[in-house]
């Protein structure tokens, strides 16, 4: 987007001008990108000679040169064929990219499906974490409705994406989340108390009460702190992956984002950088159909995110996001490719945001209740995976009741503790802006403390001053 004007009269500028001119000579100038006229078009053009039987070699070559029909352009990136027909690429293929799936709607493995084996232990943890995430969403949502926390955002409908993708990674893999992936953190061992501390912004919140609820982060668990802007984390994952590569680490990064996020410039920048820099990063797109109230047909006209991965030269796959085994298998394979081949991989999971965008949203204003109900019941990823786990004899109704009940109790306890814990002290308002508090902030803290002394009632009583 930056236009570099190179008509400047110093030596350095002139050098640049010649380079710029070289760059431009490689670029198409006509919208049709026409084959150049026959004859010498610089060293880039190398006619290919096909000698037909029974024809004089010289005559045939002349004919080819005149028609320009089967010449090959040796162009940066590889050879390009010239053709006489004017053909535009269609905006989309006739058929949409198909979607990898392992479990059918009834939780049975589809015959012939190939998937990564999941041990009993891992499968049970996957399923129980999906349930924990559901319970957590229900209770925190209620807590917000009761005014106990200021905001919340559920992952309903995307439990398989959250937990199964996390299960396919190792703890050394580094996560750059959007905000609808708390299940990844849960899988890694973030406790319900830690979730509650963040949502209540108390003194035990690692973020020191500075961000809204659901902006979790943990350096211990290699999970970068959530920030609200959409897609800004995607290029970070590429830079971090580049670091893993140059350090020779047996690890990759993964970054999550929604269908809406793929419209942001950062998405495109990141994919292009990752392809060019050959960075071991997994781009995980949760295509859940809705960016707040904007449906995907008003978001983009490409066939989702998967074709855009390919357009940037990235191995890409579309997967059923409500099929835990498919998500697990795809991310497992993507990780292998990323780490061992040092390349980016894009995974587009088709799913549905069953909940509202957040507690500030009422999605029935812009989508039908029937649609929501359909995805909530018929396509529910949790019950589908439960059927498979139960089918293996690894789970039961009794285990279900016990797990839901104990999780509920543990979370209610965590909320009580978090609610009662002190808020972070006032001094933390001024720390961490820089590594050390600079003079202007020391001065402002001093001034604020004097104001507080005079007007104590203007300020919340639960923040220790």
């Amino acid at each position: 987007m930056a236009v570099r004007l190179m008509r400047l009269p110093t030596l350095a500028w002139r050098k640049m001008a010649s380079l710029a001119a070289f760059g431009r000579s490689l670029c198409p100038t006509s919208p049709l990108f026409p084959a150049p006229a026959c004859g010498n078009h610089g060293s880039l053009l190398r006619p290919v000679r096909h000698l037909g039987s029974g024809e004089a070699a010289g005559e045939r070559v002349l004919q080819v040169d005149n028609r320009c029909s089967d010449q090959v352009l040796d162009f940066p990136g590889g050879k390009v064929m010239f053709v006489p027909e004017m053909r535009f690429l269609p905006g989309s293929a006739n058929e949409r990219i198909n979607c990898y799936r392992v479990l059918d709607d009834n939780g049975q493995t589809i015959s012939g499906s190939r998937f990564q084996e999941v041990s009993k232990e891992v499968a049970i943890k996957m399923y129980s974490d999906m349930v924990t995430l559901q319970v957590m969403d229900t209770i925190f949502y209620e807590a917000q409705r009761q005014g106990r926390i200021s905001f919340y955002l559920t992952s309903n409908g995307e439990e398989a994406i959250n937990v199964a993708s996390a299960a396919a990674l190792t703890m050394d893999d580094i996560v750059f989340p959007q905000y609808r992936e708390p299940g990844v953190l849960l899988w890694r061992g973030f406790t319900l108390q830690e979730f509650a501390n963040q949502c209540f912004g108390n003194m035990l919140d690692y973020g020191k009460g500075r961000q809204m609820p659901i902006h979790y982060g943990s350096s211990r668990l290699n999970y970068f702190t959530v920030s609200s802007p959409i897609a800004t984390q995607i290029p970070h994952a590429v830079g971090a992956a580049y670091s893993l590569k140059t350090d020779g680490k047996n690890a990759c990064t993964i970054t999550y984002f929604g269908d809406g996020g793929t419209s942001e410039g950062d998405f495109h920048a990141a994919l292009n950088f990752a392809a060019v820099m050959e960075s071991p990063v997994i781009f995980f797109c949760r295509n859940n159909g809705w960016a707040i109230s904007t449906p995907t047909e008003e978001q983009f006209r490409s066939d989702g995110a998967v074709v855009r991965g390919q357009a940037y030269g990235i191995h890409s796959i579309r997967v059923d996001g409500n099929d835990a085994l498919a998500v697990y298998s795809a991310v497992h394979a993507a990780r292998e490719m990323a780490v061992h081949d040092c390349r980016p991989v894009l995974v587009e999971a088709l799913t549905y945001r069953v909940g509202h965008h957040s507690t500030s949203d009422d999605s029935t204003k812009y989508r039908s209740i029937d649609e929501i109900e359909h995805w909530k019941t018929a396509r529910d990823p949790v019950s589908r995976f439960r059927k498979w786990v139960e089918g293996n004899g690894w789970w039961s109704e009794a285990a279900e009741v016990e797990h839901r009940s104990s999780t509920r109790k543990e979370l209610l306890r965590a909320i009580q503790v978090a609610e009662r814990a002190e808020k972070p002290p006032l001094s933390e308002l001024f720390t961490d802006v820089y590594d050390q508090v600079p003079a202007n902030l020391r001065e402002q803290e001093k001034s604020l403390r004097e104001t507080i002394k005079k007007h104590r009632n203007d300020y919340p009583s639960d923040v220790p001053v």
Binding site: M1, A2, V3, R4, L5, L8, P9, T10, A12, M16, L19, I174, F176, D205, Y206, G207, K208, R210, Q211, H215, G217, S218, S219, F224, T225, S227, P229, T232, I234, P235, H236, A237, V238, G239, A240, A241, Y242, S243, L244, T246, T253, G265, D266, A269, A270, N272, F273, V276, M277, E428, T431, D432, V433, Y434, D435, P438, A439, N440, L441
Partner: protein
């Protein structure tokens, strides 16, 4: 005070190109073992040292591998390899986003934005991501190893998009450090400080001085302190504050004013945020008058912040309104550049008007 700076003139209008400097005691001491080099070579030296002294340092940006359009990265890729010194796609938000991720892994990510005029696509990454990375995570994470280098300012023929001075946008962002050097010696020492500082910083390089400014620069590894202004000329009648390429214009105005018996104290702010208010205040308490000069448009420029702060803290000592001689509130114009600029005589007139207020 001896001028350790030799001038090499280039460009069409020597009246604009003639820029002189005074070296401070601090840099004179440092210069003893130095050779005369220009500003881009000083930057280049700093980058060599940064890469040499820290295996986790990386240099990248558009056209960086062959040496960069201003030659600042010459020889780095050959010496340190293409995995540490590399070209990026032409995408400023990508460069800064990538750099944040790299820095967040404990590296020194030294990113080049080819012209400060093109930094705006990266604004969100700088403002919402880099600047808040440590704060929003409660220090769980930081990207303090990030340094963004970018050439700024007038160059005599750059028009709208090769001349801007966007520093004040970034001075409104807690969490960043904004640093602008005035000379080759300063550039080397301040850049190394930015690179090694544990906070994200933006280092604006005065592109007019890349070739024009030549100064003795020590070859060894040295750093100059951030957030410390430098009094580069002592005076008693009025305090002049500026940064970057504008310092030489202010210096010329000081020399002219001296001929008329006005003693100017000249301060190079060097770091714009967090800025050294104490040094400016101490000077204004002495002189009772203040003039600030920068190339960026006057409205909302960083001069406004300095002016307001000094008015607050030195109100009773000020003997005249604070003067601001800055760029006009227009886009940076090509053929009108000389009219737009805060030139020597505009400054000289303001010095006289302020002193005689």
């Amino acid at each position: 005070m001896a001028t350790a700076m030799a001038l090499r003139l280039f460009g069409r209008r020597t009246s604009i190109a003639a820029r002189g400097f005074s070296s401070s005691c601090e840099t004179e001491k440092a210069a003893k073992d130095g050779k005369p080099i220009n500003l881009f070579s000083a930057i280049n030296q700093a980058l060599h040292i940064a890469l040499d002294t820290d295996p986790r340092a990386y240099v990248f940006g558009e056209d960086v591998r062959f040496g960069g359009v201003f030659r600042c990265t010459t020889g780095l890729a050959d010496r340190f390899g293409r995995s540490r010194v590399f070209n990026t796609p032409l995408c400023e938000q990508g460069i800064v986003g990538f750099a944040i991720g790299l820095a967040a892994m404990g590296n020194r990510a030294i990113a080049e934005i080819q012209f400060a005029d093109y930094i705006y696509p990266a604004f969100d990454q700088i403002v919402n991501e880099a600047a808040k990375f440590r704060y929003r995570s409660g220090n769980e994470f930081n990207c303090g190893g990030l340094t963004i280098r970018t050439p700024y300012g007038a160059v005599g023929h750059g028009g709208h998009y090769h001349s801007q001075s966007p520093e004040s946008f970034f001075c409104h962002v807690p969490g960043l450090k904004v640093v602008i050097p005035r000379s080759p010696q300063q550039a080397k020492g301040l850049l190394l400080s930015c690179i090694r500082d544990p906070n994200p910083s933006i280092f604006f390089e005065p592109k007019w001085l890349y070739r024009l400014a030549v100064e003795e620069v020590p070859e060894h590894d040295y750093m100059l302190p951030l957030s410390e202004a430098e009094v580069i000329r002592q005076g008693s009648d009025i305090t002049l504050v500026g940064w970057g390429a504008q310092l030489s214009v202010l210096e010329q105005a000081c020399v002219e004013a001296a001929k008329e018996g006005i003693s100017c104290e000249l301060i190079d702010l060097r770091t714009l945020i967090p800025w050294d208010k104490e040094t400016v205040e101490a000077s204004v308490r002495k002189t009772g008058k203040l003039l600030i000069s920068h190339e960026a448009p006057v409205t909302g420029g960083f001069g406004a912040e300095i002016s307001a702060s000094i008015a607050e803290s030195c109100f009773l000592r000020l003997e005249a309104p604070v003067a601001r001689i800055c760029g006009l509130d227009t886009p940076f114009p090509l053929v009108y550049e000389q009219f737009y600029m805060p030139t020597k005589n505009k400054i000289l007139d303001a010095i006289k008007a302020t002193v005689n207020y």
